[in-house]
Symmetry: C2
Subunit: 653 residues, 2 copies
């Protein structure tokens, strides 16, 4: 029997308040600066939270960086303004906000419109006696419940509201302002009108150095740090593509009024990969390894049709059918899924949603979000975009630094091209310094234009014009020749495929997916975190704090540490059952108990968290089994075959 | 023979330019935003640099957090102003700067005075035909060479300059300004005068949220994040002290004009421990484990005497003699030393320097810096301070949140105390509402005062006064009684002992200590990084890129990965010797070569980086040996016993 299979984890419906209380009580995370009354959108991770985060990062590094030999970076957070001017963030990384005209409270304009209209539609449905529509749970941006009142709306008004909501991401700030006036959308907290929408840039601004003349921003993503180092990375990789850089680090977004726990925060840990690939060849060497991975896809066309029906297919099929743009993007989507399952995300609450045309950054060619379902709805936790050559191109243009790949061609490319052969003496004499202008014009001509001019010259002459001036040329001035060129090197700006992970969102979703309560007592919460990410792997519980257990405690924890297993001792003065209950809340997957029999016979019991089943065996054998369990080379069913069950009279429940 | 023992690593004198070129070429780190011409004091770590950093962090976590069951945190960087108002950073975390009166260039005032006076003293020594004094290398704050000219100074002037330099950390801003005028200290770059010193706060300032009314700072240290969470941490630790919290993360300091590479940067990774301890008992449970660790100490008294002589003694002796204030501080100093040696810092270039009275923060009771010697002099890399109860006290006072420890006393404390027993009726009648004032006065009296009043009452009466009023009391109003009190709980604010690590400084010092050039060719640089921190542990080198090696490459790297050893394959199209030379620069300690014999006989050679010695053996045996070597359970001498030497004709040198 695999661990916990016989355990019914869904007897009690999911209760967010209960989970929140557990996470707070056990200090997974808490509002930062709590004793100073906190600041919205800023959180601190306590010991189990930061350990869980460190383990997720560690697994991420193994799954992506080490497995694929990515080049890891640690780049700077404080960034001079000109970098973000080039990337477009200074101009465009902004949300529209409105102010309550009386209280001055600031609201995000699109969230306000959405919240109020949705509340009215819900009131309408209520008045019509209809149940809430299932689409509601898709509403990932909703943050604060607005009270609904059962008021029936005209059918035409309902249609209008629905149309507004469908296009919400398309409205400009002034249009959002118009909507507020047209539909009398006020601050729902106060009933007051709101002012004109104003743009608010989401980057935290500061100033570098003592002069005050060097504005800087905290990065809102790590991506630019990769791009700026592209030449160095390429050189490190011996000039070859494809390759990827990876970066785990903090980013900052000065959200207008964050109210969704870890799902919308002002400071967060990201893990980003930038995979550089030949724009003409987006195949992936290892695609065959993942081609059979089943994916739950919500594509662009389905959404445009107003549906949220999921298509299930393998990543191989999806790429073959063109649902996903290319192999490399498909490879990463499958790898993202495998990673999320490995750390414990529920497969049934994971889908990949394609961005619609209007949602995508203007430069992206395809973009899919890994969305995880939680009490906040379906929330983007990993974005996977094909950013094309946008970033490298704009930075290259702004700085004059070449960010291209040079590829020696195995077979040189032989090309025949028209070239102008000027009779410099004659042409110089005729046109003086305008000769230079004429030469420039010829540099920009297409093959077709050359062919045409060649024909005209043969028939007496041609006329070219530039900046309003006309130049009449004859065969005396030049001839058009056909010449052969050999190219040994191909130059190109690589395209970038970017999987970008919001670790806090993943961590919180994982906590929701892992949480349940024991059938016999709803107050006994359990976090079924997989051993690979659980903050502590093994709890060592001596039956009492008596000193006769000390040598065994030392021995067991030192042997576990040698096996790479992180354990903790709980020798506090409470019952074994209470100590285990406390560690169920911390997600500790295994427990070993040392009692008087351990001292006498060197036996030890081993408890599995989800089933609370216990086995017993020789201390060294139990250590060997639990090490295998933690490292994932053995499951509980196998452990049950290796060690006899224990049903002694321990107060473990 | 241990690895590399027979190798002479000091044939060529240390050459910083050569090391800098290597670090730049191999992208250990580079100026951030380089293609935008960079920003002083901001650096990006490339693949080997970030891997080295991650390995140092990993070892730090094992050595401190896991070994000692510390409670790890991940707290917020962006901090509301009021937190740093309480901690004192808003008022005091500042340096004095001066501006060049013509160019506006900004200089740090103390660095300017120091640099110019030292250059003059050096010029004087030159003029007197003296060699540079050995003290010069102690100058850890010097950043930019100021040109010296051989000008002899009056003896009295020399004495004056030396006295100024000795007290440099004591001068206020206005005093630094006076010094500039008195000694005509100008900007050495331009020769221009400088203006009056102004205070410049080193915290980066920003604004949180859209209102503009919530100023925030980027933290300059992680410490405050620990202190603000103290109550939660204490609860997590079941209310008991001592315990420690730990935090690894970025901090920010807006340095005035940083010019010392990784030694003085504006954004950096710190690792900080806050160890909470009973102020009445600073012993440490595990002190006996480290008591014999030998320390190189430079204490406060030696320095005040104008000397830099190192005392060598064990940490046990140092604590016993009172050189180091207490066991807990001593324990951490020894553990810091063990950590630094483990990652490869040269023991002979490591010392612990005690802060002098005027150097220490006003609240600290003792403070020692682990200083590492490099081309920048002796630089503080780890600060270990006993911060007493300062931080917890000020935050508790500012917020009204109790940050105390409550300790159930095993034996209740029985105390006899004087208490006033008022005859309420009589006293109330005599004094009306002034009775309350009288009661207040009695609450603040000492035992001595009570005893005196008791005597006076017995002799007729006493007079007490408050706010100019006098009250005459007799035995009718009250009696003073001796009563017994029993206290079951002791309350106290714990003291904090803080080891604080600047990881970038440690990392750079380690690179200097690891760098040398091969005897036969100074251009062949080697970084002798210990396996535990080396970015790559094993380089796998196939003799050619032919596909017949692929299965073996796969096998070897997968077996190494299973053993937890991070390897890389170099199948580039250059000689094996060049591939090894490249990896000597990256600090890769071991290399294995696959050649045709490997395919035929399953043999593989194993190369040690420092000696370039090679062994040969069966592939699986070599994998087992190299795994032990990397994990530190075997040294090269043992490996030489396990496997025969190889002196085949490979072009490895």
């Amino acid at each position: 029997m695999p661990a916990g299979e016989a355990v019914n984890k869904s007897v009690h419906p999911f209760d967010k308040d209960r989970l929140d209380a557990l996470l707070n009580r056990r200090f997974f995370f808490a509002p930062a600066f709590e004793i100073y009354n906190g600041v919205a959108g800023l959180y601190d991770y306590g010991p189990p939270g930061s350990s869980l985060q460190a383990n997720i990062i560690n697994e991420w590094r193994k799954h992506f960086v080490i497995e694929e030999h990515m080049l890891e970076l640690d780049t700077t957070i404080m960034t001079p303004s000109k970098v973000f001017e080039t990337s477009g963030h200074v101009a465009r990384f902004a949300d529209w906000m409105v102010k309550d005209t009386k209280t001055g409270e600031v609201l995000r304009a699109d969230h306000l419109v959405k919240g109020v209209l949705e509340a009215r539609l819900a009131g309408d449905r209520e008045a019509r006696g209809k149940a809430a529509q299932p689409e509601k749970e898709d509403d990932k941006k909703k943050k604060k419940k607005i009270k609904t009142t059962a008021v029936k709306l005209e059918d035409s008004v309902v249609a209008e509201y629905e149309s507004v909501l469908a296009q919400l991401d398309n409205y400009s700030g002034p249009e959002l302002g118009e909507l507020c006036r047209k539909y009398t959308i006020n601050n729902p907290d106060t009933g007051n009108e709101v002012g004109e929408p104003q743009q608010f840039n989401l980057m935290f601004k500061s100033s570098i150095g003592p002069t005050g003349h060097l504005p800087g921003f905290l990065r809102p993503e790590t991506a630019q740090g990769h791009f700026l180092n592209f030449s160095r990375l390429l050189e490190f990789n011996n000039g070859r593509v494809p390759f990827a850089s990876a970066h785990i680090g903090k980013s900052f977004r000065n959200e207008i009024s964050p109210r969704a726990g870890l799902m919308r925060v002002r400071e967060f840990t990201m893990a980003e990969i930038e995979h550089y690939v030949d724009p003409l060849d987006k195949s992936h060497e290892r695609f065959s390894e993942v081609k059979d991975v089943k994916m739950a896809l919500l594509d662009r066309n389905t959404q445009s049709g107003g549906h949220t029906t999921i298509s299930h297919m393998t990543i191989g099929e999806a790429v073959e059918k063109g649902v996903i743009a290319n192999e490399t993007l498909g490879y990463f989507l499958a790898r993202v899924k495998l990673f999320l399952l490995k750390i414990g995300i529920d497969e049934n609450r994971l889908r990949f949603r394609q961005h619609m045309g209007n949602e995508m950054a203007h430069y992206a060619t395809d973009c899919w979000d890994a969305e995880i379902q939680s009490s906040y709805g379906w929330v983007e936790c990993v974005g996977c975009a094909d950013r094309a050559a946008y970033d490298l191109s704009v930075h290259s243009e702004a700085t004059g630094h070449d960010l291209k790949v040079r590829q020696a061609l195995e077979e040189p490319i032989i090309e025949e091209k028209f070239v102008p052969e000027f009779n410099k003496k004659v042409t110089g004499k005729t046109f003086g310094k305008d000769f230079a202008i004429i030469q420039k014009v010829f540099e920009t001509l297409s093959e077709e234009q050359f062919a045409k001019i060649k024909g005209e010259l043969a028939q007496g002459g041609t006329t070219i014009s530039k900046d309003g001036k006309e130049f009449k040329l004859t065969a005396e001035h030049l001839s058009i020749e056909r010449k052969t060129f050999k190219k040994n090197v191909r130059e190109f700006t690589p395209n970038v495929i970017e999987p970008s992970f919001g670790l806090g969102r993943i961590l919180y979703s994982l906590l929701e997916h892992s949480f349940w309560s024991r059938e016999q007592d709803v107050e006994r919460g359990v976090l079924s975190l997989p051993p690979v990410v659980a903050p502590t792997k093994v709890l060592i519980v001596p039956i009492s704090a008596k000193s006769e257990f000390s040598p065994l405690l030392q021995e067991v924890s030192s042997k576990l540490r040698k096996g790479g297993v992180y354990s903790r001792v709980d020798d506090s003065n409470t019952s074994i059952g209470r100590r285990y209950a406390r560690n169920d809340e911390l997600g500790t997957p295994f427990g070993v108990t040392l009692d008087f029999a351990s001292v006498k016979n060197r036996t030890m019991t081993l408890r599995e968290r989800d089933s609370t089943d216990q086995l017993i065996g020789d201390i060294d054998e139990v250590i060997s089994v639990v090490t295998d369990l933690v490292q994932g080379t053995m499951d509980w069913a196998e452990a049950c075959k290796r060690l006899p069950a224990y049903d002694g009279v321990q107060a473990v429940d």
